[in-house]
């Protein structure tokens, strides 16, 4: 006959593995609750999208009434729907145009644009910020500000 000791459970209540088990299940449940909730929010925010919508957005219909403006920003030709933007872009200084061309139109990282232009990253970021502000002011009709 086995001794009484051999029938004792491996872990008594309140031991480290017991405490870890109850702690981890609670923590995981909380994390899962947060993640599933944010997943639902993301899903609700995304609009229903079909391939037909993509075709409509991607294709340009020349018979439509919209008049497109073609301008040259630095060395990059741009076709813009917004006539105000097309008129405002050439009005800002060439340096700001170059920075906007590099960072926004071509999507090049600020660091690389700064190296190409021989300026520091900080100055390029400033030009970008000032250029966008100037564009906004011109488009809103507050050119003097």
């Amino acid at each position: 006959m086995k001794s009484e000791e051999s029938f004792e459970p491996c872990y008594t209540e309140g031991s480290l593995p017991e405490r870890f088990d109850s702690w981890i299940t609670q923590v995981l449940e909380n994390l899962i609750y947060t993640e599933v909730r944010s997943y639902k929010r993301r899903k609700m925010r995304l609009p229903e999208f079909s391939t037909e919508n993509i075709d409509e957005i991607a294709s340009y219909d020349p018979n439509k009434d919209e008049e497109l403006k073609e301008i040259l920003l630095g060395n990059t030709p741009l076709i813009l729907k917004n006539s105000k933007l097309a008129a405002a872009l050439p009005k800002i200084s060439p340096r700001k145009q170059q920075v906007i061309e590099g960072t926004i139109v071509l999507g090049i990282p600020v660091k690389i644009v700064a190296e190409t232009m021989g300026l520091s990253e900080h100055i390029v970021s400033n030009y970008k910020y000032l250029g966008l502000n100037e564009l906004r002011a011109i488009m809103e009709g507050n050119e003097d500000e």
Partner: protein
Amino acid sequence: MSEKKDGTYHENMKEEVIRRACEGDSSALGEVVAHYQNYVIAVIITTAIRFGLDPDEVPVEDLAQIVWVKFITKRISQFKKLD
């Protein structure tokens, strides 16, 4: 051993593995993940149903991965403080 709701028992993790996992040992963390992975998946599915989501459309594996990353990077160290 601890009793589950359905009356069955599951083995708890070994003390040494828990301690190593709290120290950030990757093999011990792997054991923790393997031990609780089924539990995580089950809770994700039941939580999704509670939120009115279709469990077949929920990316269970992706959510489980996010949960484990957050657990390992932010939470496991908290148990060390509680211990």
